[in-house]
């Protein structure tokens, strides 16, 4: 990016104003209000006397139930990230290295197709696959492999399968960009020097793609811990995560202050992840800019 610090803003700069207004009114103001509500005893508009309090945050730390919810959310996020990496990497590698333009376009379509199918629809797809009378259980039972249906839904495994399916395209797209920038001649040189393709991959490509692995993992983790639909439908209201807790506090308990406090915790975690993601990607583009 060229530095334009010396130049003065011109007339076109005014075109930023509508978006600035949108962000001020519908992004910064609401988040500021959420942060305020998280440290107040009640709604300042309705109630005459509200005071500062840290009890919403204290409640999260004091009650082992909420710590368990935080841990469940993080655990689901971690497993989802690892599985998404394991199945996203080979596909990203193929996409980055495929020679045929048609082949590349088809792979891109295959990765984008699930992305462009709504989250609710994709979760529904996994419900038809994983439920007790679902496709997987019916097939296994008709083949005589199992006598009782396997409990696939209403488990953390079910949630992870659904989340991986939903977020693996983000992993693939992030990794493809990074692997595509690695000079293929490096691998060829290693192979010419006698390394097997596997060894060339492990010693050359894999280390060079580490920033992409980091960026993709952070992105998938951030998305997975903030998912609502998949954990609630595939978990059958039995497994509690932070987003589910937030919605429950609003819809069932109408405890706006506590919901806001959980929201702020989730926001801080996500912000840290986003900053780390940008740093990781900066490693890649920084390398390129130096060349």
């Amino acid at each position: 990016m060229s530095s334009t610090a010396a130049q003065r803003p011109n007339g076109l700069a005014l075109f930023i104003l509508p978006s600035a207004l949108l962000f001020a009114l519908f992004f910064f103001l609401p988040i500021g209000l959420m942060a305020t509500m998280s440290v107040l005893t009640g709604n300042p508009v309705v109630m005459p006397k509200v005071a500062f309090t840290t009890r919403h945050y204290a409640r999260m730390i004091d009650d082992p139930f909420y710590l368990e919810v935080i841990w469940t959310t993080i655990r689901i996020g971690l497993v989802t990230t690892l599985v998404a990496l394991a199945i996203g990497y080979p596909l990203a590698h193929w996409m980055a290295r495929i020679k045929s333009r048609t082949g590349h376009a088809l792979l891109l379509m295959a990765v984008l197709a699930p992305m462009l199918t709504g989250i609710v629809v994709r979760t529904f797809a996994w419900m038809t696959l994983l439920s007790d009378k679902g496709v997987v259980n019916q097939t296994l039972m008709s083949l005589g492999l199992i006598a009782q249906p396997l409990k696939l839904m209403y488990t953390e495994t079910g949630i992870v399968v659904g989340l991986v399916h939903i977020y693996v395209p983000f992993m693939v797209l992030t990794l493809t960009g990074v692997i595509g920038r690695i000079d293929e001649r490096l691998e060829q040189a290693a192979e010419n020097l006698g390394a097997s393709p596997l060894r060339a991959f492990i010693e050359v490509t894999l280390p060079l793609s580490l920033p992409g692995i980091l960026a993709g993992s952070l992105l998938v983790f951030a998305l997975a811990i903030s998912a609502y639909v998949t954990p609630i439908l595939l978990g059958g209201f039995q497994i509690m995560t932070l987003p589910i807790l937030i919605y429950q506090q609003i819809s069932a308990n109408f405890n706006v202050g506590f919901a806001a406090a959980i929201g702020i915790v989730l926001l801080v975690i996500s912000l840290l992840l986003v900053i780390a993601y940008n740093r990781a990607l900066g490693l890649v583009s920084g390398q390129r800019e130096l060349q």
Binding site: G11, I16, N43, L116, F124, M127, P169, Y277
Partner: protein
């Protein structure tokens, strides 16, 4: 499994490091793994279509026949039709506002000599990375505090916030790639800045704006977490209606509704690919 054992066998058989045989098998293993991953990605979508066309009211696999009864039921359902039209209404309004705001913001960022451009871009892209459920929650709390109820414009504002980043990104990508001398040439030949904008800049950035608009439409049409907090009962978007049905039942009508929304996204994406090409707009 058998590939890896034969790979080991081949290695034992040829102590000389020719590596041609294992490379051959390794290539097959690589393709097999990738095809399995592609099946994992695409099979669930195929299953939805199978389920929607299956005449039985419960999941049956393998399917027993083909019927359109669930589609008839979907199009006859007042709830689903209302939700479908409301979703389309919100998506169209969102696309208009996100495109207008996003494209002008991109223009200001690329041509306006604004200080701190990098920070502004990062801020404008942030709704993409921050949990959408928090955007929904924060807007919900704000509307409650300000006592404005749950108006459609409130929902559209929320959707605009989460779709604007797509338009900003695709428009910026085009603006960064084009030659500013074209605009200078037009002005040197006597065109006013306004005329230069409409006759040179706008036609050149159109593909980027269009791609962003199409992304905005699809993202808004499929949006769930923001809508969850901002819809009012009786005025729900299609994903929220689907979600409410799913909480109780797995019914073929949901399959039909899903197929309709998948088809809509596909038509739009194929249109996008035909008009401006996909490749350049999917960088994260």
């Amino acid at each position: 499994m058998s590939t890896s054992t034969s790979l080991a066998a081949a290695e034992r058989a040829t102590p000389v490091r020719t590596a041609t045989v294992p490379r051959h098998y390794g290539r097959y293993l690589y393709l097999a793994i990738n095809i399995a991953i592609l099946i994992f990605l695409l099979a669930p979508i195929a299953i939805v279509v199978v389920f929607a066309l299956n005449p039985t009211p419960f999941i049956q696999f393998p399917p027993v026949g083909v019927s359109l009864r669930w589609f008839e039921k979907f199009f006859a359902s007042r709830d689903f039709m209302h939700a479908l039209w409301f979703s389309l209404e919100v998506a169209v309004l969102t696309t208009l506002s996100a495109t207008l705001l996003g494209a002008s913001a991109a223009l200001a960022l690329a041509r306006g000599n604004l200080p701190g451009t990098r920070l502004i871009v990062a801020t404008m892209l942030s709704p993409l990375m921050l949990p959408a459920i928090l955007t929904g929650l924060a807007l919900f709390q704000t509307y409650v505090l300000l006592d404005v109820g749950r108006p459609t414009w409130g929902l559209v504002a929320g959707h605009t916030l989460v779709t604007l980043p797509y338009v900003v990104r695709t428009t910026l990508a085009v603006l960064h790639n084009f030659d500013t001398r074209l605009e200078e040439a037009a002005q040197n030949l006597g065109a006013s800045p306004l005329r230069t904008f409409f006759e040179v800049t706008l036609p050149l950035i159109k593909p980027g704006v269009l791609a962003g608009a199409i992304f905005a439409f699809i993202v808004s049409f499929d949006q769930f977490p923001v809508s969850l907090f901002l819809v009012s009962p009786g005025n729900e978007t299609l994903p929220v209606t689907l979600f409410n049905y799913l909480k109780f039942d797995l019914d073929g009508t949901i399959g039909a509704a899903s197929v309709v929304s998948i088809l809509l996204a596909f038509v739009v994406v194929i249109g996008l690919d035909r008009t401006v090409g996909l490749r350049s707009y999917v960088k994260l």
